[in-house]
Symmetry: C3
C-alpha cells in the first residue's frame, strides 16, 4: 500500500486544453514535487481540461475514486473572472473543507502581490485524498507550495495514505513526535 | 463603457434608516473613494436601508442588475448580533465568494482592536460587480479600505468593468504588468 | 440574569467517551476559564461524547436551547480525519458563522506548528450563545484561548449575555469605550 504515492495534477485552462498555448502549470507542479518528495515513489495522473465546472468535478472524482489518488493538485481557475470555477468544482466534490490552506496560501502570496486576495483557492478532503487548488503561474505555484507543503504529509497520514518523506532542503515535513517514523538505516 | 464607474454605497442600519441618527457610513465611503479614484468619473447610487436581510438583498440585486454597478460597498451589519445580517444578504446574492478580502480586512483591523475577529465581512462577485462589506465606523472604513483597495481595480478589470486609476498617495492599485495600461500623455 | 455565566464544555472523542483513556480536554478548558474569568460566577455544563456528528449536534442544541449556555467550548474533532466532525456539527446548528475566530486560531497555532492549517475550527452564534471549536491538546487549547479570548466577552455582550470580566494577567477583555462598564467600587 505504501509502495507509491498517487498524485493527480490537473490544469484547468480553456486555452491550454484547446492547444492555444502550452500548459505551464502541470510541469511546474511536477518539477516542484519531484524535488520535494523523496519517498515513496510518485505516480502521476495528469489532466489538462477546460474551465468547465462539470468537467473539473468529473476529473476530480475520477482521480480520487477510480485512480486512487492520495493528493490532487489543481492549477488555474481560482480568480474572480466568470470562467474561474476551480474552487466551486472542488467544493462540490468535498467531504471536508480545510480553510487553513487557502488562508495561508493567500497570506503567503500577499507578501509578493496585493492582488493575492483575489485568489479563491480552497483545500478539501475527499475520501483518501487531499485536493489542493494552486495558482496558475509557475512562480506563484512554487511560492505557495513552499509555504504550505510542510503540512501535507501529515494530512495524508491522517486520511490513510502512505508516509511521505520530503527533502528538507526543499521543505521540511512536520509531524507531531508521536506520528514520526524512524528513517530506515 | 469606460466613461464612468458606477459605485453603489449601501448603509444597512435600522437607526439611520429610521432617522434616529445621521448615517455616517455613506459619507465616509464617498469621502474615501473621492480621494482614491482619479479615473474614470464615479457615479454613485446610494441606499440607506434597515437591517432586514430581504431588503438588503433586494438593494444589492437592484444595484448590480438594474443600475449596472461595477462596485458595491456596504457599511454596517457585519457583527454577531441578531440584527447583523449584511454578510448573509451578500452571500445570498453571490455568484462567487472571495474569502481573501474578509481575511485581510480582519487581519488589518486586528492591528487596531482584538474584537476585529467578530466582524463577518465578506466579498463576492455578482455578474459584473464586486460587492464588499465594510465596517460601520468611519475610522474602521478608512482603515480597511486603505488595507484592501489595492486589489480592487484589477478585480474590476477581471469581471469586465472599466479601468480604474487611483491616486497613489492614497492607495497604489496593483496589476500584473500584462494588465497595466500606459497613462495617456 | 447576569448573576451567572453558563458555559458548556464539550469533548468530542470516541476514546475518551468510551473510557479508553482519560479526557484531558474538559479539564484544560475549565482550568483556563477558571483563571481567566473573574465575574460573573461560572456554571459549567459538561459533555463527554463520541465523535458522531448527530450526537455532537444534539449536545450543542441542548446546551444552548435547553441549558441556556452563553458560551460553549468544544475540544477535539477538528482535524481532516474521517472521524473529525466537530466543525460540521457546529456549522449545522449555527445561526451565524464568525470566520475570524478560526482564522486567528490557525494563525496563532501556526506560530507553533506548520500543521495548524489542518485544523478546521469554526466559531458560530446560535441564539444567545457563542460556540467555539478548540483543539484537542491541552497545550494547544491554552495557546488558542490566550490568542482569541480577548474578543469573547464583547461578543457575549452583543448577543445578549452577561457582562464578563477577566483577570488581565491572563487575558484583557477588549470592548469599545461605549460598551465598557465601570468596576463596582
Amino acid at each position: 500500500m505504501n509502495s507509491e504515492l498517487v498524485v493527480g495534477v490537473v490544469s484547468a485552462s480553456d486555452r491550454a486544453a484547446g492547444g492555444v498555448y502550452r500548459d505551464e502549470g502541470i510541469p511546474a507542479l511536477k518539477a516542484w514535487l519531484g524535488k520535494a518528495i523523496i519517498a515513496p515513489a510518485v505516480r502521476y495522473e495528469e489532466r489538462l481540461i477546460p474551465d468547465e465546472q462539470p468537467v473539473i468535478e468529473a476529473a476530480l472524482v475520477d482521480l480520487v475514486d477510480a485512480k486512487g489518488c492520495h493528493l490532487v493538485l489543481t492549477t488555474g481557475g481560482t480568480g474572480p473572472a466568470p470562467r474561474d470555477v476551480t474552487p466551486e468544482a472542488t467544493l462540490a466534490v468535498a467531504d471536508k473543507v480545510l480553510p487553513g490552506f487557502g488562508e495561508l496560501m493567500r497570506a503567503v502570496s500577499l507578501k509578493y502581490v496585493p492582488t493575492a486576495i483575489l485568489s479563491r483557492q480552497v483545500a478539501v478532503v475527499r475520501r483518501q485524498a487531499l485536493i489542493l487548488n494552486l495558482p496558475g503561474q509557475p512562480k506563484a505555484i512554487k511560492e505557495t507550495l513552499d509555504g504550505v507543503f510542510a503540512a501535507v504529509p501529515y494530512c495524508i497520514d491522517l486520511i490513510g495514505g502512505p508516509y511521505v518523506e520530503t527533502d528538507e532542503a526543499v521543505v521540511k515535513a512536520f509531524r507531531p513526535k508521536s506520528a514520526q517514523r524512524p528513517r530506515p538505516a
